[in-house]
């Protein structure tokens, strides 16, 4: 699109993006051109996972207060204008967006030039309402660290954390958020957060090219644990590194969370338990069980029954958004065991694990196994 000194017309580029893009390959140069030279332009999106074809889910489900004006559809891209009517304030918000099929069968990501309000209250809320057919990707701060590590390693650029929001759990499930403007390498930011028992929730970062004493910023972006991203320039670099990594993580989590229901074809199967491992003795005092129970009780649209609370914990959790249910056990100091019951969708497991990460403590979700030498 570039022709020497003349700058590409933003409207034309957006028209090409939302009306003409057939695949990811087509849209990368269009977005790069759109972002170049204007720091106020941004491209945002998020990641979703689904067992179904998300293009079909979007077109089949007519959600109250949402309107879809379809523009185009190809094998890889669905383009539409999303309009949400917000009843409370009696106003509407809208924006253009693309949903793109990733190379992973259950993962999609979105692209939009919409503002923050549209991204959070329009796009993100829309996908949350498609639960459980579609589930937005929920990351841990360890995932954020991993994708940034990979970006630095493969691109050879220095990754500088410009601004972070780090959270800390304090007494009685109250959360303390700290916004920090750093300008230092992201690794140090993650290390400091870990030392202070915080977790990074959101990060604005830059990829910087260092050449002798000269530093040049090659990419500027934002990433959050709720998988919302924002890019201000060099979308191609962001796509090749961050988006492809995020899609890989998403597919891995999807496979870990899926197929956990005990009910299969009207028969009841053996349970397939998961464990959230913390890597340290998080349950070192009996009051921690109580803190976990309090945290679980904050999960919206759910119920928690405590069968045994102390010194070990056995609770039953029901997710009223889709009828999934779980037994939760704390039988040692460093893990929570989640035993999915008759119905347990990947979307609900994603929701519960994310809730525990945000409201109690971050850990790593794994297949629950007892080592042969332990057994």
């Amino acid at each position: 699109m570039s022709c020497g000194d003349c700058k590409p017309n933003a409207n034309l580029l957006l028209f090409q993006l939302f009306e003409k893009a057939n695949n990811v390959k087509d849209l990368l140069p269009i977005i790069d051109d759109y972002l170049v030279g204007n720091p106020y332009r941004q491209i945002s999106g998020l990641f979703v996972m689904s067992a179904s074809d998300v293009f079909n889910v979007i077109q089949k489900n007519k959600l109250e207060n949402y309107k879809i004006d379809k523009k185009t559809e190809t094998n890889d891209v669905l383009s539409f204008k999303l309009i949400r009517h917000i009843e409370k304030s009696n106003r509407s918000i809208s924006g253009n967006m693309l949903v793109l099929r990733s190379k992973h069968p259950n993962v999609y990501f979105t692209v939009s030039d919409g503002n923050l309000e549209f991204i959070m209250l329009g796009m993100k809320r829309y996908f949350e309402e498609l639960f459980p057919d579609v589930s937005t990707l929920k990351l841990s701060s360890k995932h954020l660290q991993t994708v940034l590590n990979n970006l630095e390693r493969t691109s050879n650029f220095k990754i500088i954390a410009d601004k972070t929001v780090a959270n800390k759990r304090i007494y009685q499930n109250k959360r303390e958020s700290a916004v920090t403007y750093t300008g230092i390498n992201f690794k140090e930011v993650f290390e400091r957060a870990s030392e202070e028992d915080r977790w990074i929730d959101k990060i604005n970062f830059s990829a910087v090219k260092e050449d002798n004493d000269k530093r040049a910023m090659v990419m500027n972006a934002f990433l959050s644990r709720s998988s919302v991203y924002r890019v201000s320039n060099n979308f191609s670099l962001f796509y090749k590194n961050i988006i492809s990594d995020m899609c890989g993580i998403s597919q891995t989590l999807y496979l870990l969370y899926t197929d956990r229901s005990r009910r299969k074809h009207n028969e009841v199967q053996r349970a397939k338990p998961l464990a959230i491992e913390f890597g340290y003795a998080v349950f070192d005092q009996p009051k921690k069980n109580k803190q976990l129970i309090d945290a679980l009780r904050e999960l919206t649209n759910s119920s928690v029954s405590v069968i045994h609370g102390n010194p070990y914990l056995h609770a039953s959790v029901v997710d009223f958004l889709d009828g999934s249910s779980y037994d939760l056990w704390v039988l040692s100091q460093n893990k929570i065991i989640i035993v999915p019951q008759l119905r347990a969708t990947y979307s609900s497991i994603n929701r519960i694990c994310d809730h525990i990460f945000r409201k109690f403590s971050e850990g790593e979700v794994k297949e629950f196994e007892v080592a042969a030498n332990e057994f």
């Binding site: 459980p132 029954s305 958004l321 039988l331």
Partner: protein, 266 residues
């Protein structure tokens, strides 16, 4: 004790008994490579002192070649009748039971375990000894006590009282006592097996019906429409609930046992 703590105690007793049975099963598997079955059905003979030619279902059975074990569990013998029931059950299993995993469905010998909480073991043993002449059992009746150990990792501790097992290797272990971590019972079905062959406390039963069965009945579409805010009406029959509850009991040869008494749901 308040009404609420009574409910908690009853539910805890029931769940602990399932855990203790699984702890025996886990020990059999880990230390003796022996498989166990929950609620396996056996037939008594016409020599049985309690019920001739009828089906009996011990809470747990284990078999090593031509030697078997049948386990009857009860954490709390809270009433006088409970001790009588335990001894009567032992009497019922003191028979050449038919239904073992052998060609002729019998084994040369089996022992009978009465599994109970450590606080009840002595009294149970005293009651059993007081009836020893009248009972005149042909097989060994072993009282195994369990207690929960709530130190760093929650576990069950098990050991036998006076009379030992016929199998010397088994007896050595049960005589010395051993512990089984609760976490290690999860792969064996702790959290899947909701019932054993005893009537569950009503609060426990209702919690399982509410959390596991009713929640599963509406379709995902109905849940989406309700959006966590609107009520969803569920129509369900007692027969249907009984059938579904049965699916939460252990499966034996394609059959799930025990059945929840229908009268509890009527």
């Amino acid at each position: 004790m308040s009404f609420e703590s009574d409910i908690h105690r009853d539910v805890d007793n029931y769940e602990q008994t399932i855990g203790a049975l699984l702890a025996v099963a886990q020990h059999m598997k880990r230390d003796h490579s022996v498989d166990s079955w929950f609620g396996r059905k056996f037939r008594t003979t016409d020599m049985n002192k309690v019920s001739k030619n009828t089906d009996v279902t011990p809470d747990l059975t284990a078999q090593l070649n031509d030697y078997g074990i049948v386990v009857e569990a009860k954490k709390n013998f809270s009433r006088e009748d409970d001790y009588e029931d335990g001894i009567t059950q032992a009497k019922k299993y003191d028979d050449k039971l038919i239904g073992w995993n052998t060609q002729n469905n019998t084994v040369a010998n089996h022992d009978i375990i009465l599994l109970t909480h450590v606080l009840r073991g002595v009294t149970l043993e005293d009651r059993l000894n007081a009836r020893i002449n009248e009972f005149d059992h042909q097989r060994k009746v072993v009282i195994v006590e369990f207690a929960r150990n709530d130190e760093v990792n929650a576990s069950f501790v098990l050991r036998r009282r006076g009379t030992g097992f016929s199998s010397s290797s088994l007896d050595r272990k049960f005589h010395a006592g051993f512990s089984v971590r609760l976490e290690h019972l999860i792969p064996l079905g702790f959290s899947e097996i909701k019932f054993y062959d005893a009537e569950p406390p009503m609060a426990y039963l209702l919690q399982i019906i509410w959390d596991n069965l009713l929640s599963e009945m509406p379709t995902e579409e109905e849940y989406r429409k309700a959006a966590g805010k609107r009520k969803i009406e569920i129509e369900v029959s007692v027969d249907d609930l009984c059938e579904k509850l049965k699916q939460l009991a252990p499966k034996q040869n394609g059959v799930r046992l025990p059945e929840i008494p229908k009268k509890m749901l009527d």
